[in-house]
């Protein structure tokens, strides 16, 4: 039995087999072989299998994320056919009489080192592709199942770290839990785990060399613990906990269709945050009353060029139609800072979190902004869409936005295109916006507090830096005071105020927020029913703000 503690990002329990995602760190053993031809034949088969796996991945990706993002798998296939690469492997097998695994790993390292040494950033990044294809061939030679096959059984994913794209690539149905050595509680992987109701532990000080795929493990998100190769007694305890968890889940299920209202009669609008069209399923499954934050930048990530107006229009329209008359609040583009996209050609910045991002890009490169607004106004005809603008610091910015909105409206009108100008609000996520709340409230239809950025700017703590987690206090009184100020500013001007950051899902603060007069909470879909239960158990009588 091996126990490790880590930081839990979703309080659930899971038990199952480990799938170790090793990014090339594993040492391939060098062995002497006698039959060179047989070894070459093994290599041949491993490569053929690799190519057909990549073809399958390519087809899957085309369906799920589109041609442009899927192209990487096509490139991987081509790399596997590269003459120099194949010649180098064959030469090693022949001249040194060594096993194919070692020849592939060694050649992969040599080629990827060559790319890593280039002075071009794009080409340096290709060294990872070469490692990737080499690992795939080695895995095939060793008979290891990758993440790609449909045959994968539901597993506990163990890795050094996971990038957002890796997390996205996985089949969500087959992930029991995430356990990583690195990562921060605010990383995208953590956010994704919360959204998918998947137990996840990060910052786990485990030695990956002692862990193998196929080991049984228990991930206990409640105690922040992972146990590898548990004994029978521990397994039994875990199974009981899983049973309790299931019962709790069923209890929450019974809250579906119920109103989110305190015993004292105060109604809260309980919405969900989503990052892609496919997440709408989670929203409906968890019975959220609307979408309080649709992160539109996911339409821009993981591709080579800007999404067209039609692509955006279709995505917004699909969500709006699926949600029927429920509110769908779409946040305009929030690229920059930790979300970088190559084709935006954003300059490197010393301090990207405080740099050229979000509304600052939109108000500078207005053509990008106008395309998105046109798509939004057209989609607004099909449902209950609201628009929200991120990273606002001044009234002047809101006026500039209004000028762009007016231009777009004029163009649509002249072209005779069907459109609707929906309700428009702003994110309150800078201390400046909090302090200017009274003035901003007169200009917009609603406020939505983005607690992640508001906290990082107020406390001057970088949320991507996990060494600062010890200094980070999400319950800092300064933040709570700011939220109170925002709610007061909003109500004074007769508009509503909500919270769409991670803090909105913090059960320890829910009652406080309700008492402060917060009108709307938008949280991960998986938190919706838990919060509904908490709110229904409260006695708060603060009058419901008329909306």
């Amino acid at each position: 039995m091996m126990n490790f503690s880590g930081k839990s990002v979703y309080k659930g329990i899971a038990m199952g087999k480990v799938l170790l995602l090793d990014k090339g760190g594993e040492q391939v053993k060098r062995t002497h072989i006698d039959d060179i031809e047989a070894e070459k034949k093994r290599l041949e088969e491993a490569i053929e299998n690799g190519k057909s796996q990549l073809q399958q991945l390519y087809e899957k990706a085309v369906k799920e994320v589109g041609e442009a993002s899927a192209a990487i798998f096509e490139v991987h296939q081509m790399m596997m056919e590269d003459e120099d690469y194949l010649d180098a492997i064959h030469n090693m097998i022949e001249s040194e009489q060594i096993n194919a695994e070692f020849a592939v790993a060694q050649t992969g390292d040599n080629f990827s080192d060559m790319f890593a040494a280039m002075d071009d950033e794009y080409m340096r990044a290709r060294s990872a592709d070469i490692k990737d294809i080499s690992n795939r061939i080695v895995d095939n030679l060793l008979g290891k199942a990758g993440m790609s096959g449909d045959s994968m059984e539901p597993s506990i994913i163990v890795a050094d770290d996971l990038s957002p794209s890796e997390t996205v690539q996985m089949d969500k149905e087959k992930i029991l839990a995430f356990v990583t050595v690195h990562g921060s509680t605010n990383s995208h992987t953590a956010i994704l785990a919360r959204m998918m109701n998947i137990p996840a532990l990060i910052g786990v000080p485990m030695n990956l060399e002692e862990i193998h795929s196929g080991m049984v493990a228990i991930v206990d998100g409640v105690n922040g613990e992972v146990i590898f190769e548990p004994d029978q007694e521990t397994c039994l305890t875990a199974m009981n906990k899983i049973k309790d968890q299931e019962e709790q889940r069923l209890l929450l299920e019974s809250l579906k269709g119920q109103e989110t209202i305190t015993k004292g009669g105060r109604k809260i609008h309980l919405y969900a945050n989503i990052g892609s069209v496919s997440d709408v399923g989670y929203v409906l499954e968890n019975d959220a009353e609307g979408i309080g934050l649709f992160r539109s930048e996911f339409l821009y990530l993981g591709r080579d060029d800007f999404p067209t107006e039609e692509e955006q229009f279709n995505a917004y329209k699909t969500v709006a139609q699926t949600m029927g008359n429920k509110k769908v609040i779409i946040r305009t583009l929030d690229i920059g800072a930790d979300k970088q996209v190559d084709y935006f050609n954003l300059p490197k910045e010393e301090n990207p979190a405080m740099g050229y991002r979000a509304i600052r890009i939109c108000l500078t490169q207005t053509d990008i902004f106008k395309t998105q607004l046109r798509a939004l106004f057209r989609a607004a005809v099909y449902g209950n869409i609201s628009i929200m603008y991120p990273m606002i610091i001044s009234v002047n910015e809101v006026r500039k936005i209004k000028a762009v909105v007016a231009e777009v409206e004029k163009e649509l009108k002249e072209l005779g295109i069907d459109y609707k100008i929906p309700e428009q609000g702003i994110m309150i996520e800078t201390p400046a916006a909090v302090l200017m709340g009274d003035d901003l409230a007169k200009e917009v239809d609603f406020f939505s507090i983005g607690t992640n950025d508001l906290t990082q700017y107020t406390l001057a703590i970088d949320r991507q830096n996990n060494t600062l987690d010890a200094f980070f206090d999400s319950h800092h009184p300064a933040i709570l005071k700011m939220i109170q100020m925002v709610v007061e500013s909003a109500h004074k001007a007769g508009i509503w105020a909500g919270i769409c950051g991670e803090l909105g899902a913090d059960p320890e603060l829910t009652e406080k927020f309700v008492e402060m007069g917060v009108d709307e909470l938008s949280v991960s879909p998986s938190m919706v029913l838990k919060l509904r239960k908490m709110i229904r158990d409260m006695s708060t009588t603060t009058p419901d703000f008329g909306r």
């Binding site: 192209a71 081509m78 790399m79 003459e83 120099d84 690469y85 280039m118 002075d119 794009y122 592709d129």
Partner: protein, 85 residues
């Protein structure tokens, strides 16, 4: 032997995907097609070598085509460069 010079206008230069397409195109011809950037050269049928040239925007490359079908090949490769790089 035929040859032509070409100035790369694509933002990221000869990057992975179009390089892969170039390999496919080059394999259609019997001629030996070489892409040269300064001292370095790579056969157009070798993806990693091509990428290893590190050809960037505004770089000038020389394309040399030698073989029985060099007339058709040089024409096709030139058109390919104009379309993709």
């Amino acid at each position: 032997m035929k040859s032509f010079d070409y100035v790369i206008t694509d933002e990221v230069g000869i990057h992975a995907r179009p390089a892969g397409l170039l390999v496919k195109e080059a394999k259609k011809y019997a001629s030996k097609i070489t892409i040269k950037k300064g001292e370095k050269g790579a056969e157009a049928t070798k993806l990693m070598a091509l990428m290893g040239l590190g050809v960037k925007k505004d770089d000038t490359v020389t394309v040399e085509v030698a073989g029985d079908d060099e007339d058709q090949a040089v024409e096709a490769i030139q058109a390919f460069f104009q379309q993709n790089f």
